[in-house]
Amino acid sequence: MSTVSLKVEFSGGLELLFNNQRQIKLDLPAQADASEGRPADVRYLIHWLKDNRLKERPELFVENGTVRPGILVLINDTDWELEGEEEYVLENGDDIVFISTLHGG
């Protein structure tokens, strides 16, 4: 089965939910759903991270099927709001950054 290689980064305090890891490299199945042939998108990545890498308090990362409001997402250093948000189809070598804005300043 083909895979996509990604670099995923967490900051702004989110790394604390991921075992204090600020950066991880992943090989994700290129098909989010083998039977339907749906390609792996950011929505799939969020669920995959929650199910496989998140260590605590999932409600601080995911809400209503996407990231919790107040978490910024960048796809290759671009605001995900310009890239289709959850619908963005992941490509080999993509760099996805999750930043929490919910921690004190």
């Binding site: 604390l16 310009l82 890239e83 930043i99 804005t101 921690h103 004190g104 300043g105």
Partner: protein, 328 residues
């Protein structure tokens, strides 16, 4: 999806959707509008005069780190003529504040600004760790908030500064407007949207980020690779503010202008004269001399409670007084 061009310069690829306007903008245009809007806020409110000595309340977190950086940029670009200082408060929370103060110390080097750190321990004789040991985790945020407010004033007096800038952003202010409405706190509702506040005898405080969205502050820090600290305080955060915050973030997700709209609503409230009249007259605290609306200021009445709980720790009284000589 083809890359989208910046809607301001029409030349470079857009990297950010502005929450305030919905515009798609590139990195350079983002820096320009972000910094220029703060400059405009400063000019419209006439925040400074040349030669002012100004302290930036620095926690090591995203807002105050970006504030220190941007103030340095603007001070040089527009010749404000300000003498900028960093002022940090050490609440005495091991594993939280000691780490964030390391960030502030790096900022001191990076931004070449003098840094003053004042601790609750030296000001009040109590660190937050010891206060929590005594009062538990229920009202600890009240102690911390009251003590921090005074501590910043005292720190400013100590370094001869009469104006403190804080990193409060548009999201924080909208949150506070909502909280004051929900609590029926009319006096604070009237004050919380002001860009500058000043008590009778206290130091001036201003919020240059009053109209700046948190999203843009975080994006600015990310693109500029600014060094900031982000960990939740180890003591339970203010639960009420947490609800207001979640509510606001949900509103923002469905309509990004909600934040600025709530601030505008707050600004537009006019408090009736008879309601205003009920606010207590200001006097000074008989114990420490800080401005107060009661015989004892809030910090001193909290301290008296703590001391009683400890069987009389009168030494703090002396320390509290001693510091007054350093004030204006």
């Amino acid at each position: 999806m083809p890359p989208k061009l910046c809607q301001l310069c029409n030349e470079t690829r857009a990297v950010l959707k502005r929450p305030k306007t919905g515009q798609h903008i590139c990195r350079e245009c983002f820096y320009y509008v972000f910094e220029t809007e703060i400059h405009n806020t400063i000019m419209e409110a006439k925040l400074f005069s040349p030669g002012d000595r100004v302290a930036i309340g620095a926690s090591g977190g995203k807002d105050s780190t970006v504030l220190a950086y941007v103030m340095k940029v603007l001070n040089e670009r527009y010749n404000y003529g300000l003498d900028l200082h960093l002022l940090s408060i050490d609440e005495g929370i091991r594993g939280y504040r000691d780490d964030s103060l390391e960030t502030v110390k790096r900022n001191q080097q990076q931004y070449d600004m003098p840094l003053k750190i004042l601790s609750y321990e030296e000001l009040y004789g109590w660190s937050m760790d010891r206060i929590v040991e005594q009062v538990g985790r229920k009202n600890n945020c009240t102690f911390c908030g009251v003590f921090r407010r005074q501590a910043l004033d005292r720190g400013a007096a100590n370094i001869g500064v009469d104006h403190i800038l804080t990193g409060h952003n548009a999201d924080d202010i909208a949150e506070t407007v909502l909280m004051n409405i929900m609590r029926g706190d009319i006096a604070r509702l009237g004050r919380c949207t002001l860009i500058t506040t000043q008590g009778e005898d206290t130091i001036k405080r201003s919020k240059p980020f009053k109209y700046v969205y948190e999203k843009e502050i975080v994006m600015y820090a990310y693109f500029k690779k600014l060094d900031y600290f982000s960990t939740e305080c180890i003591y339970s955060p203010d639960a009420y503010r947490g609800h207001a915050r979640t509510f606001l973030k949900d509103l923002e997700a469905s309509r990004p202008s909600a934040i600025i709209d709530i601030i505008h609503s707050g600004e537009a409230f006019e408090v009736r004269q008879e309601v205003k009249a009920k606010a207590k007259a200001q006097t000074t605290c008989k114990r420490c001399g800080y401005m107060s609306s009661n015989e004892l200021c809030k910090a001193c009445s909290l301290l008296e409670g703590l001391e009683r709980g400890m069987g009389g720790l009168a030494v703090v009284r002396g320390r509290c007084r001693g510091l007054e000589s350093g004030r204006r």
